[in-house]
């Protein structure tokens, strides 16, 4: 598919001053802050966030959704959009995310590294290989030669976090950002192998963005100083 001509919205679509930003769900908190920032900087502009799994967002764009900015959680999903000829001229990686092991507060099972995840009596949960955090986990497994035997390979990282915060799993391989989000309930255990599987987040102002100028401005914000600060505060890394 692809190649449809976008036009300015009809019916209940966002109006002139509305900037639609499709962003990976893991960016929810950071982009929520950036949205406010952008709206203060650009009075009269209403930023509408469309948060979801990167692949869903990509599908929407490919099928003609009138989106201005796309921030994906993996280069693969960005590639889907680019292959359809819809991505902007450049799709820079604006941030990265790193794996960390989430364990219950106080680390009762004494998990100290990736290898401990296979310890008897430790219920481990990871992401499914199809989603970015799972792909990263798989990479670590390969690199370290440790094949995990998880109780579950969840289709999104939030589900993994929940299993740990609710006490049903002893450990989960998640992103650093997730651990920080839930620092009251979980502790993070870093492991050196994580460096082999840094996850890249590309962003682009879409080619057919209804508000190309604003879109470019938003990408600037994300990549700029304010963006970096917000991302770092949430635990994201710098590319």
């Amino acid at each position: 598919g692809g190649g449809a001509q976008p036009s300015s919205g009809a019916g209940g679509q966002p109006g002139e001053g509305t900037l639609t930003v499709s962003a990976a769900a893991s960016l929810t908190k950071v982009f929520g802050e950036l949205e406010k920032r952008f709206e203060t900087d650009n009075p009269g502009v209403d930023v509408v966030l469309n948060l979801g799994s990167s692949s869903t967002l990509a599908e929407q764009i490919v099928h003609g959704a009138p989106v201005d900015v796309f921030a994906a959680a993996s280069p693969a999903t960005m590639k889907t959009v680019a292959d359809a000829g819809l991505a902007g001229a450049e799709q820079p990686v604006f941030t990265t995310n790193k794996l960390q092991i989430a364990v219950a507060a106080g680390n009762p099972k004494g998990v100290t590294g990736f290898a401990d995840l296979n310890k008897p009596g430790v219920i481990t949960v990871v992401c499914a290989p199809q989603v970015p955090c799972g792909a990263a986990t798989e990479k670590v497994e390969k690199a370290s030669g440790i094949a995990l035997r998880p109780a579950s390979r969840e289709p999104d990282v939030k589900s993994v976090v929940n299993k740990v915060t609710s006490g049903n799993a002893d450990a989960g391989v998640v992103y650093l950002t997730d651990v920080l989000d839930n620092d009251a309930k979980v502790d993070g255990v870093s492991f050196p192998e994580a460096d082999n599987a840094i996850n890249d987040y590309p962003v682009t102002a879409l080619k057919n963005a209804p508000h190309a100028a604003l879109a470019a401005k938003f990408v600037e914000l994300v990549r700029g100083e304010d963006g970096r600060r917000a991302l770092e505060a949430a635990g994201f890394g710098t590319p």
Binding site: G1, G2, A4, P6, S7, G9, A10, G11, G12, Q13, P14, T20, S22, A25, S26, T28, K29, G32, V48, L49, N50, L51, G52, T56, E59, Q60, V62, H63, G64, A65, P66, K158, V161, N162, T165, D181, N182
Partner: protein, 273 residues
């Protein structure tokens, strides 16, 4: 009591239920109620006011109620006749059509949303027609939410109403015809009133399903605050950063839905007082 009879003699003694039924019934009820109780116990009730009065929550709740109501209406308008045709028309080939109605039931909602995107999206056939002829783009509009909800909810209305139509029987309809009532009159004045409890059940199911709809909506309509972000989508989004908040929010949804249904249902499902 005769089907549909709304007036009940207070002297009538029901046959009574076998006592043993109460045991599985209570287990069933517990199965449904206990997890929700667990949820309520766990929820941070102090945060309720803050959450509910938040702009996003209010706007999402309003959108949810509005779209679910419209979807339910559409289900009734299109699904009602479909159920009648399935239950009553002797048209050949109907046996082959019936399974089609079940498709949205088994299709994972997200895939249902993709199906809508493929069909009514800008690049789909239907979408291109709509855009060329009427200048309408459906995805990312409130209309898309309604469409997604209608798609997933319609089978609930159709299947339960069809069941009721089959149970109700046709003898009263024949009587009406001999009194000169055209099929349309028979349908309006005899068939429908007699299956009101079935219609009621169907509407409740469809409304509830529409209200809780998530997968198809997020895939087809996106999650834009004020336009397409219904409460379940908001819950999803909040969950990314704050699970407890998400739980509290969904309890709001539950309370509102149960209230709406409890207010609307007695009339629809238990005859016209």
């Amino acid at each position: 009591m005769i089907p549909g009879a709304p007036v009940r003699d207070r002297h009538v003694v029901g046959v009574g239920l076998p006592r043993v039924l109460w045991v599985p019934a209570l287990v069933g009820l517990a199965l449904i109620a206990l997890p929700v109780v667990g949820l309520v116990v766990r929820a941070d009730l102090a945060r309720f006011p803050e959450l509910v009065t938040g702009g996003a929550a209010l706007s999402a709740l309003g959108l949810s109620l509005r779209t679910a109501a419209v979807s339910t209406l559409l289900c009734l308008l299109f699904g009602g006749p479909l159920a009648a045709v399935l239950a009553r028309s002797g048209a050949p080939g109907l046996r082959l059509i019936r399974p089609i109605v079940l498709l949205p039931l088994v299709l994972p909602p997200v895939v249902g949303g993709l199906a809508l995107l493929y069909t009514v999206g800008r690049t789909g056939f239907g979408g291109r027609v709509l855009e060329l002829w009427f200048g309408i783009t459906v995805p990312f509009t409130t209309a898309a939410v309604v469409l997604a909800q209608t798609f997933v909810s319609m089978p609930f209305l159709v299947v339960s109403l069809e069941g009721a139509l089959r149970t109700a029987g046709e003898r009263y309809e024949s009587v009406a015809a001999t009194l000169g009532a055209s099929p349309a009159t028979v349908f309006r004045r005899v068939t429908l009133p007699l299956v009101l409890p079935g219609v009621g059940s169907g509407l409740v199911l469809a409304f509830a399903r529409a209200l809780g709809e998530f997968g198809a909506t997020i895939a087809f309509a996106g999650s834009l605050q004020g336009t397409t972000q219904t409460l379940p989508l908001l819950v999803y989004q909040v969950r990314e950063v704050d699970v407890d908040g998400a739980v509290a929010l969904s309890l709001v949804l539950v309370v509102v839905a149960v209230l709406v249904i409890a207010v609307a249902r007695p009339r629809a499902a238990e005859g016209l007082g």
